[in-house]
């Protein structure tokens, strides 16, 4: 009896494992394909012809379709997200999107001639981590990891790690420090973000 039961458990476990393995492989494959196609789109905008304004518009479209801006925004506000009023959340997220797009497009000029090669993909909890190597003329190759959420159903980029430094974690710690030194006021943060955007548009 005991033997049969443990045999059954074994069979069930094997079945579960073999069912899980293709799912895992599928998730990493889909995530890698997603990063490849998004990366190709970014590279073609960066290296392509067009004025800075049209490139900015194209980058904004890419960010809106392939990056989970709201999720990153929530992450970056950290524990202050729970304290924010619905109105503050709305203002913050719309400003956050502009800041993100501005920061990304500010670098477009520097990245002319960029190319990338795909590396390995692994799962980290629910997210897929896709490694790439980004090559820029006159720069050493950079390891860049793309964190993709919901790789099988609705893949979106939720973080980018360049040489091990996470975009969203750095941003979160920047905001956290700013909030701590400004009386934990979310309105102060919103004002600072607004100033930042108007400055970058003026300059």
């Amino acid at each position: 009896m005991i033997h049969r039961r443990s045999l059954l458990t074994l069979v069930a476990a094997t079945a579960a494992l073999s069912a899980a393995r293709p799912a895992l492989a599928q998730a990493t494959e889909k995530a890698a394909a997603f990063v490849k196609s998004t990366g190709d789109k970014i590279v073609s905008v960066v290296n392509g012809p067009g004025s800075p304004n049209s490139k900015r518009a194209a980058m904004t479209r890419i960010v809106d379709s392939y990056v989970d801006v709201d999720e990153i925004g929530r992450f970056c506000l950290g524990r202050y997200w729970r304290q924010a009023t619905p109105e503050q959340k709305k203002q913050y997220l719309s400003l956050f999107r502009e800041v993100l797009v501005t920061n990304i497009t500010a670098k477009v000029g520097e990245y002319r001639g960029v190319s990338f090669t795909m590396g390995r993909t692994r799962m980290e909890d629910e997210d897929a981590v896709v490694s790439t190597i980004v090559n820029r003329p006159n720069n050493p190759p950079t390891n860049v990891e793309w964190i993709v959420s919901n790789p099988t159903s609705n893949p979106k980029i939720v973080d980018v790690k360049a040489e091990g430094t996470s975009l969203r974690l750095t941003q979160r710690q920047d905001y956290a420090s700013y909030l701590q030194h400004n009386g934990n006021s979310i309105d102060a943060l919103i004002t600072a973000m607004r100033n930042q955007i108007s400055q970058s548009q003026a300059g």
Binding site: R79, A106, T170, Y178, Q180
Partner: protein, 274 residues
């Protein structure tokens, strides 16, 4: 008539010095206030940030920033303006080649034979075929560069990083890296040659330190500018970036467990893994 006295009264100077040292002492003694236990979120933030000397660190950050604006950054900009990219790359490669001995020592102390082998091969190839290190031939031949210093060695021995430090002149650090910086200098054979009377070697060493500083700064001109422009609190951003970067370097070193069997060895040549 000039109103400025030709010689400053000695007493006034002393007082100023006293006032300055008192100010520095006050600043050095200043600590970030630990949030009360009744605010667990703030407390968790405080512990995660691990920067109990933040007020002092910020003073040194401001000082370094000022020094950078008037000295190092203009020097790096002039360096970029004066020399074409190819020449700068050659100088960078040469400096990096001169830094090989402490790198090799640390690879060994970290117990990473393959990394030590890479470093040794890089030194041999680049010093000869690469003409005194000007050309990085070794990377093309399959011996890429990697980071290795005594701070990383201490980490590999299990020494914790400790609280964040922002050091005068040296910049972001922690007790482990500050100690590592000193030992790394001691591990460098160039430190021990020269000395009093040997102007040539002393000049060589200081030229090397100076060039290293300018070269390093030049390479981050654009990214530092970008960070200062986009961060709401640049100090906190640099703190975060420094730590993440160090953790990544240490992780990469820890995970580099390539087998010591050479690639040309018949049996094991099948899977050169990294």
């Amino acid at each position: 008539m000039r109103s400025v006295p030709p010689v400053r009264p000695p007493l006034g100077g002393t007082f100023r010095l006293l006032a300055l040292s008192a100010l520095v002492t006050v600043n050095v003694a200043a600590c970030a206030t630990r949030p009360p236990a009744s605010d667990p979120d703030a407390l968790a933030d405080y512990e995660q940030t691990n920067d109990p000397l933040e007020p002092t660190n910020r003073v040194f950050y401001a000082i370094n920033n000022g020094l950078d604006t008037v000295i190092l950054k203009p020097a790096a900009e002039a360096y970029r303006w004066a020399l074409p990219g190819g020449v700068r790359r050659g100088i960078h490669n040469m400096l990096s080649n001169l830094g090989t001995p402490p790198q090799l020592a640390n690879d060994m102390l970290e117990g990473k034979p393959r990394r030590a082998g890479d470093t040794a091969m890089r030194f041999v190839i680049n010093s000869t075929v690469g003409v005194l290190g000007i050309f990085d031939v070794a990377t093309k031949w399959g011996y890429p560069n990697h980071d290795s210093d005594f701070g990383m060695t201490l980490a590999s021995w299990g020494v914790p990083e400790g609280p964040f430090l922002f050091l005068p002149v040296l910049g972001p650090s922690d007790p482990r890296d500050a100690a590592g910086f000193g030992v790394n200098i001691a591990l460098d054979p160039f430190t021990w040659i020269g000395g009093p009377g040997q102007i040539g070697w002393t000049a060589f060493n200081w030229t090397r330190y100076g060039l290293n500083a300018v070269d390093t700064r030049e390479r981050v001109l654009d990214s530092l500018e970008q960070i200062k422009k986009t961060a709401l609190d640049p100090y906190a951003t640099f703190r975060s970036l420094y730590r993440q970067h160090r953790h990544a370097q240490i992780e990469e070193m820890r995970n580099d467990n390539r087998a010591t069997v050479p690639v040309w060895f018949p049996a094991a040549a099948a899977q050169p893994s990294k």
